[in-house]
């Protein structure tokens, strides 16, 4: 057991932090306020910069995934710019990760290097108007015509869709077979016949993150992911299950940013002749911010380590980490806003943006309610009567 970073892990953390402070953080405020077209261009540049610096490769060493590295690097990107982390994650983890785990050799050769270098952008399209965590309710279908798969349906909010070169799309190939055996993931390339992007969405937070709906009208897929049909539900589920720690890292990154801003404010702002952080009303909030953020980070790393080592129960630990860190960061952002008070409520205060960004963790890729159900089931089943 060793709770400290190894020298390599420390280097990854420090290098990523230094790079993101220099190249990513200065654009975060602009991404939050600029028009969508500009944001899309900026985001492509950010991904290219991260890829060029070798940062998108982390989480992707050797044959498998390195979720500990993903958490360490991810937190630093998220601290600099939460939207950029979510875009990078959709491309280099959700899309490239799926290709790494399930793709054919040809698909890996074609896509992994460009996605991880930041030259190409990827996306994963699974959710729909009526299908979120309940992925089996997806209505999109795929039919084979000759050698070609044609997709029909509408995907909901797809992160990176407006800037993506390749999108993995979840669709039913055989509705009779049900979700476990009847769904597959397909590669759809930018400009494919029958692919239309919806309007960009406007969001509470994570503004500047390119996202839109997708309409697939006889859309020509460039292929099935991997060789075997009917694996899509499990494949997408596996990615989202591993992905819990990435969302936890997002939350810890936002939490760290909140804490640093708030601590600086509490150190410099005075009231009634004292720095406000010396009042318990403020100081104790700083302490709670630290506690929840610090534990959120260890929870994420603990779960990531379990995933990397194949420990049984890793999925539940991931759910615990996401739940803890996402609920933690909404508290942290709220405390941060309180520390700044009126100054924080103003657009451009910094904490105002983080306050909006923070809410996403409790909602995305399995709400807190869904995480609780998953976690509870594991413990309740330990005592289920034997039938």
């Amino acid at each position: 057991m060793d709770y400290q970073y190894s020298p390599e892990e420390t280097k990854l953390q420090q290098d990523t932090a230094a790079f993101c402070a220099r190249e990513i953080a200065p654009r975060a405020a602009l991404l939050d306020t600029c028009p969508p077209e500009r944001a899309c261009a900026l985001m492509r540049e950010n991904l290219k910069a991260l890829g060029g610096a070798g940062i998108l490769k982390h989480g992707f060493t050797g044959e498998g995934l390195d979720m500990v590295g993903h958490c360490i690097a991810g937190e630093e990107i998220a601290k600099a710019c939460p939207a950029t982390f979510m875009s990078a994650r959709a491309s280099a983890f959700l899309c490239a990760g799926a290709i790494r785990l399930f793709g054919t050799d040809d698909q890996k050769d074609r896509w992994l290097a460009p996605l991880l270098d930041g030259e190409a952008v990827g996306a994963l399209a699974y959710s729909e108007e009526q299908a979120g965590t309940d992925m089996g309710a997806v209505a999109t279908s795929a039919v084979r015509v000759g050698d070609t798969w044609l997709l029909n349906g509408t995907k909901g909010i797809v992160v990176n869709a407006p800037i993506a070169d390749v999108i993995l799309v979840l669709a039913y190939t055989d509705r009779e077979a049900g979700k476990e055996g009847g769904m597959s993931l397909f590669l759809v390339e930018k400009g494919a016949e029958g692919l239309a992007l919806g309007r960009g969405v406007e969001t509470l937070g994570l503004r500047g993150l390119p996202a839109s709906s997708l309409t697939l009208d006889g859309c020509v897929a460039s292929g099935l992911l991997g060789d075997v049909q009917g694996q899509g539900f499990g494949q997408a589920g596996r990615l989202l299950s591993l992905g819990t720690v990435g969302i936890a890292a997002l939350c810890v990154g936002i939490g760290t940013a909140c804490m640093e801003l708030s601590t600086n404010h509490a150190r410099t702002r005075t009231a009634f002749g004292k720095r406000i952080g010396m009042y318990q009303d403020v100081g104790f909030k700083l302490a709670d911010m630290f506690a929840y953020n610090d534990l959120g980070r260890v929870m994420a790393l603990r779960a990531a380590w379990a995933m990397d080592t194949g420990e049984p129960g890793a999925e539940v630990l991931g759910a615990c980490a996401k739940l803890f860190a996402s609920e933690g960061v909404t508290k942290i952002a709220n405390w941060g806003m309180q520390v700044f008070a009126g100054h924080g409520y103003l657009a451009g205060s910094g904490i105002e943006k983080l306050f909006r960004d923070a809410k996403f963790g409790e909602i995305c890729e399995g709400t807190s309610e869904m995480q609780r159900q998953l976690i509870a089931k594991a413990d309740l089943d330990r005592f289920a009567p034997v039938r």
Partner: protein, 382 residues
């Protein structure tokens, strides 16, 4: 990063868990109801070697590292051993015996540690006074040098194990002008003239540990019983705080695991509206919150233990976090466990009721969660 436990550590935890569950826990309900220290429970802790875990074999211990001590605390709590019995274990082993082992002369170690490790002697530590809790440096107990000894005057309160203790590690100030630099630790044996203890307190929780005041009235202690040297008491007291963040907190983790097992079993068995109550999301969500608490609490406790074992610099912020979080949240979670049991949870026969009372201490003893927040915020403001 490496979060693994060795096979040996896992086996040890399982063994202590089974022993605690089968041999000790059955005695706890009645002892808790009486609100008395149980010498039978003490004997059972002793006979399994649990009172001497961290000491080397030549001093009657088993040479366990700090993480292993935490695993023992966790396993006892998980097995259903009440918070008071594990508090008695903790105060004796870590606050008394381990302080003697860490700071004592060879002679002091040989004289006291083997008896404490075997449980033949019961130990306690007296730091808190009626007028000084978190602000321990303001203690008023004095030690005045007189020839080859010191004369102690003052009183201590909330001293775990005091009514049954044979060995007292007591802090007193040799020179109030020096403030905390005058604080000195003394080893005092039961029966020393001028040393007496008050009537055991009736407590909200942790009722199987005996707690009382300690009175020092012209209590003469030979100079060879100074622990760690004159003026070193403050350092000793602070060192004890690190133990509080891991070994003394580990039973709270175990008690939460015990609560989760009780709740998950009950939620499967209890039927309402024709369904087991596990079918209701309000119950499921409480179960999930208990699990999240356990995982977070475990990490905060093991992290302190692991750093101490490895001799790594312990980040004072991270150490305090275990109390800020686990102290307050642990009580909240113990309350949710009572809620799952409804009316039954309010009854003494159901251990969730006892766990609820016992859990409150973690946010108070060994430094309140408020003081932890003060420490963390002051460091952040630097």
């Amino acid at each position: 990063m490496d979060f693994s436990l060795t096979q040996e550590q896992k086996m040890f935890r399982d063994t202590v868990y089974r022993y605690g569950r089968d041999e000790i826990a059955p005695l706890c309900e009645e002892a808790d109801l009486r609100g008395e220290f149980s010498f039978e429970i003490w004997q059972r802790l002793a006979s399994f070697g649990l009172l001497g875990l961290p000491f080397p074999e030549e001093l009657g211990g088993s040479g366990a590292d700090i993480l292993t001590c935490c695993l023992a605390g966790e396993a006892l709590g998980h097995g259903g051993v009440d918070g008071g019995s594990v508090l008695a274990w903790g105060a004796h082993t870590y606050l008394c015996a381990h302080n003697i082992y860490d700071f004592g002369t060879d002679e002091q170690k040989r004289k006291y540690v083997p008896g404490l490790a075997k449980g033949d002697l019961i130990g306690c530590m007296g730091l808190t006074e009626p007028g000084s809790g978190s602000d321990a440096a303001s203690m008023r107990t004095t030690a005045v040098r007189k020839g080859g000894s010191y004369v102690l005057n003052g009183s201590k309160t909330f001293i775990t194990n005091a009514p049954v203790a044979d060995i007292f590690v007591v802090f007193a100030n040799v020179d109030h002008a020096k403030k905390h630099e005058g604080i000195t630790a003394f080893i005092i044996e039961k029966g020393t003239p001028g040393l007496s203890t008050g009537k055991p307190f009736h407590k909200l929780g942790c009722r199987c540990s005996a707690t009382s005041e300690v009175f020092l009235e012209d209590c003469e202690v030979p100079e060879e019983n100074v622990l760690g040297g004159e003026g070193k008491g403050w350092f000793i007291a602070l060192n004890g705080v690190e133990w509080d963040r891991c070994t003394l907190l580990s039973p709270l983790l175990g008690a939460a695991m015990y609560n989760l097992d009780l709740c998950a079993r009950y939620a499967n068995e209890r039927q309402q509206f024709g369904r087991p109550i596990r079918a209701f999301q309000a119950v499921q969500h409480r179960i999930a919150d208990l699990r999240v608490f356990i995982e977070a609490c475990r990490l905060s406790v093991y992290r302190v233990a692991s750093a101490k074992d490895k001799g790594q610099m312990l980040n004072p912020l991270s150490a305090a976090v275990s109390k800020v979080y686990a102290g307050d949240k642990g009580f909240e979670m113990a309350s949710e466990a009572v809620q799952i049991f409804g009316g039954y949870g309010f009854m003494h026969e159901y251990p969730v009721e006892r766990n609820f009372r016992d859990a409150k201490l973690a946010a108070i003893g060994g430094g309140t969660s408020d003081i932890m927040r003060m420490i963390v915020s002051r460091i952040m403001m630097m």
